[in-house]
Amino acid sequence: MMISTGRRQVMRNGGAISLKVVLPLSGLLLFAGAWQLLAAVLNTAVLPSFTTTVSAFVHLLARGSFLSANLEPSIVRVFIGFGIAAVSGIGIGIVVGASRTAAEWTGSIIDFMRSIPIPILVPLAIIVFGLGNRMIIAMIAASVVWPVVVNTADGVREIEPLLLETAQICGFPRVRLYVRILLPAALPAIVASLRVALGMSLAVLVVAEMLGGTSGIGYFVVASQQSFNVVDTYAGVMVLAVLGLLFDSLFLLIERNTLRWTHARLGERSYV
């Protein structure tokens, strides 16, 4: 949101371009410089310099075995797990949001499931699904479904009563009411929760791969640490950071191009 506002200001005021680009960039440079300096001053085996880490990062991405054995499985797992959570979360959320009875019967269970600190479920998932793909995908889906359920239900509940009454007067059947009225009305809340869920997916992926993976970036990072390959540990974390940034940017891009109308309702001004 800040970005889109920023862009608009840039368009309005050419002079602001340099400031908007230069300042964040110098923030990055500041960060890199501080890291480099710290590594030089401490001169310890456990903190490689920024440049060493970046070059290891580049080598990692150029290595075919890393891409096929670690990066690709991780990305596939996130998208499958996230996809399952998104579809089932929106479905459950609409029902729970629309029906007071459903909300009451399931409320305690949903609250309890959301209260479990997610990583503690990984050993349980290992017992049920064994090591590897199925366990990791199940972990992601089972963890990130809850914010989607709760936000969808909230979005449905906050719907303009006039919309519902109009649909009822027009004699909409139930299914059509759900698809044509409730889902679009809840869409801004759903999209906000999906963004959160995508970020969470990456985090859950990492823990699950660290504890019970045989491939993937999380596995790579922890295996590098255990074999005291310090530079690769840092480079692996850097891959994760870039991946997180890419996912988030991709999501914002899709959101901005498909859900233009929601921005007007969200009130960009509050973020400036």
Partner: protein, 294 residues
């Protein structure tokens, strides 16, 4: 929010409000009955699944076995919970202190805000949990590493919320202060900090859930004691009843922490909600949710 990236990370634990609470503010007997009924139903489904033999008991033990595991290993469980709670509480205090301080400083200055924007976005999209191996390399698998990492994870939601809170202050208040000839420290003390307090509170709210989550994750990966290591051991020894016992205790713990926050929120922070109704904080619930999610 969070990701366990702080964004996400903050994202990792959306603030809890009971779903039922939002449907019906009052608590009728029938309402309570249905909520309890849901739990009874879930337990019944669990028992039926086990009894039918569809799932082997190593994967899903009977409820009685889990309850007796909780009772028989209560000392070990209590110790583990106490250790996890200690790490969590200390980290939360550290993160709140540094996060709100940095948030106010960065929020006041537009230049600092822009400078930090990229780093914040990067840090938010990096799952803090990915840093566990790095933290083990640097500080070993001890309590200092756990507290350091949990503090860093909880820092982001407090910092980001405080920053937004400061930047959202009604410009009229600042103008009025200038007209009244307030000095800069006085502006911070009389206007900026009081107006940012509700935002700090919602940052802390996110940090509460995020903190317990990262604490457990660190304990699992580093095997550094606490509830995480308890569950990890149960898995490695193939004691599924003890494993389920640990998970259920973890769920109850998480639920209690959120209930505690709800209690504090209702009883100590009610003035903040009043403030949100005034001009300075007239946000739609959707906006507020978005901010909490950040």
């Amino acid at each position: 929010m969070l990701t366990p990236s702080a964004g996400e990370e903050a994202a990792l634990s959306a603030p809890h409000r009971s779903i039922g609470e939002r449907v019906l503010p009052g608590l009728s007997l029938a309402h309570l009955g249905r909520r309890v009924g849901g739990v009874v139903g879930a337990i019944a489904v669990w028992e039926i699944v086990v009894a039918s033999g569809a799932v082997p008991s190593e994967q899903l033990p009977r409820i009685q076995a889990v309850i007796s595991a909780i009772v028989s290993s209560r000392d070990a469980l209590l110790n583990a919970v106490a250790q996890s709670l200690g790490t969590w509480a200390l980290s939360l205090v550290i993160a709140t202190a540094f996060g709100s301080l940095a948030g106010v400083l960065v929020g006041i200055s537009a230049i600092a805000d822009q400078l930090s924007d990229f780093i914040v976005r990067m840090a938010r999209s990096l799952p803090t949990l990915a840093l566990i191996p790095v933290a083990i390399l640097i500080a070993g698998a001890g309590p200092a590493m756990a507290i350091g990492l949990v503090s860093i994870a909880c820092f982001w939601p407090v910092f980001i919320n405080t920053k937004y809170g400061v930047r959202r202050i009604e410009p009229g208040y600042l103008d009025a202060a200038r007209v009244a000839g307030y000095s800069k420290p006085l502006v911070v003390k009389r206007i900026i900090i009081p107006s940012a307090l509700p935002s700090i509170a919602s940052g802390v709210r996110v940090a509460i859930g995020l903190g317990i989550l990262v604490t457990v994750a660190v304990e699992l990966v580093a095997a550094s004691g606490g509830l995480g290591e308890y569950v990890l051991q149960a898995q490695q020894l193939n004691l599924s009843a003890r494993l389920y016992a640990g998970v259920i205790v973890g769920g109850i713990l998480g639920w209690l922490l959120n209930a505690l926050y709800g209690f504090i929120d209702r009883n100590l922070l009610h003035w903040a909600r009043r403030g949100q109704g005034s001009n300075a904080f007239r946000l739609s619930s959707r906006q507020r949710r978005l901010i909490e999610l950040q």
